[in-house]
Amino acid sequence: GTSGSGGGGGPVVGVDYPRSDTDFWNSYIKYTPESAKELGLELKTTNSQNDVAKLTANVQTFISQGVKGVAMAPQDTAAIAPALEQLAAKKIPVVTVDTRPDSGDVFMVVRADNRAYGEKACRFLGAKLAGKGKVVMLQGDLASINGRDRTEAFNDCMKANYPGITVLGEATNWDGAVAAQKLQTDLTANPDIKGVYMQSSFALSGTLQVLKQKDLLVAPSDPKHVFIVSNDGIPEELKNIAEGHVDATVSQPADLYAKYALQYLKAAINGESFKPGKTDHDSTIVQVRDGLLEDQLSAPLVTSDGGTYDGVPSLKHDDKSLWGNKLQ
């Protein structure tokens, strides 16, 4: 490999980026080499462009290149099993980021709990709407495990805690234009919609524009206000929260993903091991099944005031610990 090498001399690790067309993953891509440098790891990177077949090929390339550990973020959690077996056969430790493989062993899963995203969004909207009204959920892609986790958790939480709220779920294929189109149709058919949960920031601008066109982009104090909860925590969301256009977001820890993925890899190469329990970085390692540990990083709810909503604490939008506030 020519490019992508950081801090020479250390063990070589391979990192596969899942995609490069979302703000969130691009932040991850940006943080990874920085963390590698700090940890003294030499880095080989590939990009599987959201295609598990490509990921499998990339893993083989890593093996050919003789890496000592692999970090990956398989967006298809079932199909990755054969690749994991190959790596296991070569005794190459693996850390998965963001998703947990359905089968196969990995050294550590570093992820935020996607079900918790949906749950937090649900609690926030439930509290703001006082348990009644209609909300639109702009889902991602049905084929995405993370999207499905958020959808199910949001639906389950609504059903259990706020039976008075009707959820209109719309599949959007992670496409902003599709999201805007569906939201617009829903608002036409149901002018009394009071909340929107977008499962990713891809739909952010489109949603705001649709509301603006319908004259619904008004201050939270106005009875016409539609409450918006976003997901990801990119800088633009934080800025919109500050401006009062967006009410909350769930901040995915892009920086922590990069940092801890590489840290665990290094530990694995050094022969360290971990046990379930609290960690030193405000998170918990849980054993999700036999031989599979998962470091569940905290994914805070971010609001304009940092208040607590139906039991869910939140951070204020300008909190320095948020990765979205740390970029440049």
């Binding site: 067309d21 703000d23 719309e170 599949a171 189109q181 952010l204 489109g206």
Partner: protein
């Protein structure tokens, strides 16, 4: 003489008027399907036929409809332009990159915001010129060239944006995508006006007819005195320019340029054009037909959304309805398709 004719006419009973009718009705082939969808839609939800819902449909389809218009021009002259979909992203993307200030919007902030619209359109023209150079000047296959361009342009957008979304676009970029003229979104007006212009140009001007001649038989067109290369240049560059305009409207409406903007559109564009009666073999089809094609697709989408079909079955239903609409339109349209 007359004898012979009579004899023949008796043998094969007067099909002429039917043939003419079929040739003419071909444009209207999708109308029955659209009517059926409208009726179903109204049954599904009383919202469907309400003015604001129809305006919604028109607004959400306006950008892609302009792409359909562009592709229709290209298809009629028997070319293809796959790169239109990436022009939709790259043209406004470059403008945003240059004009959006450094910071959250991810731009370079090199130029003032007023430049954004001219830059968008200029990028469209440049892409068109490159395509035309390859295809007309160097005689390379249009499918291959524009496929290559599609990948390159998409890649450039990912490159300059670093895969991130450009936000905080200058006001001039937002104008067309957000403003209302006489109570309807400007993009709807623009789309309708462009289609009306397309219908007039293709149907009632010598330039428009020359597209059909070129698509039908380029040698015959040349023989009839048409400057074929010039017309092809105009068509290819215009198509890219329209794609840039479409991208401008989309960016305006969404107030951002995602690095994946336009990805996958070309599929819908081809589907709409072909369903609307535009032949991939050139020289056939009308602008009105193309319009009914894209309208049908978006009406189906709208009805499915209003009906609240479970997300996982939307795809299958959508496809089935499209297939049925096609079968229906071909029953009305008559004969076998090549």
């Amino acid at each position: 003489m007359t004898d012979t004719q009579t004899a023949v006419t008796t043998a094969a009973p007067a099909p002429t008027s039917r043939k003419i009718a079929i040739a003419r009705l071909r444009d209207l082939a999708l109308i029955p399907a659209i009517i059926v969808i409208a009726i179903v839609g109204q049954l599904v939800s009383p919202v469907f036929l309400r003015g604001d819902n129809l305006v919604n449909v028109l607004q959400t389809m306006s950008e892609i409809a302009i792409l359909v218009l562009a592709q229709t021009l290209v298809l009629i002259v028997k070319k293809m332009d796959l790169s239109l979909e990436s022009t939709v992203g790259l043209a406004p993307g470059v403008a945003a990159w240059l004009t959006v200030p450094v910071g959250a919007g991810h731009g370079l902030g090199l130029l003032p915001g007023g430049w954004s619209v001219p830059i968008t359109l200029a990028v469209g023209v440049v892409i068109g010129v490159i395509n035309a150079l390859f295809i007309i000047r160097f005689g390379l296959n249009g499918f291959i060239v524009t496929l290559g361009m599609l990948i390159v342009l998409r890649g450039i957008l990912t490159g300059i944006s670093g895969g991130q979304t450009f936000f905080r676009l200058p006001a001039s970029m937002l104008y067309l995508g957000t403003t209302q003229w006489l109570g309807m979104p400007a993009s709807v007006w623009l789309c309708l006006i462009l289609f009306a212009a397309g219908i007039v140009v293709l149907g009632f001007t010598s330039f428009g007819r020359s597209l059909y001649a070129i698509g039908g038989n380029v040698d015959a067109a040349k023989a009839a005195g048409i400057r074929t290369d010039r017309v092809l240049w105009i068509v290819i560059v215009t198509a890219s320019l329209l794609a840039a305009l479409s991208g401008l409207l989309l960016s305006g409406r969404l107030a951002s340029v995602a690095s994946a903007q336009g990805n996958g559109y070309i599929f819908t564009v081809f589907a709409a054009a072909v369903i609307g009666g535009i032949s991939l073999n050139g020289g056939k089809g009308t602008m009105f037909g193309a319009f009914t094609g894209i309208l049908l697709l978006f009406l189906i989408q709208n009805v499915l959304t209003l009906a609240g079909v479970p997300a996982q079955w939307i795809g299958a239903l959508n496809g089935t309805i499209i297939l049925i609409a096609l079968a229906l339109s071909r029953v009305t349209g008559g004969k076998a398709q090549e």
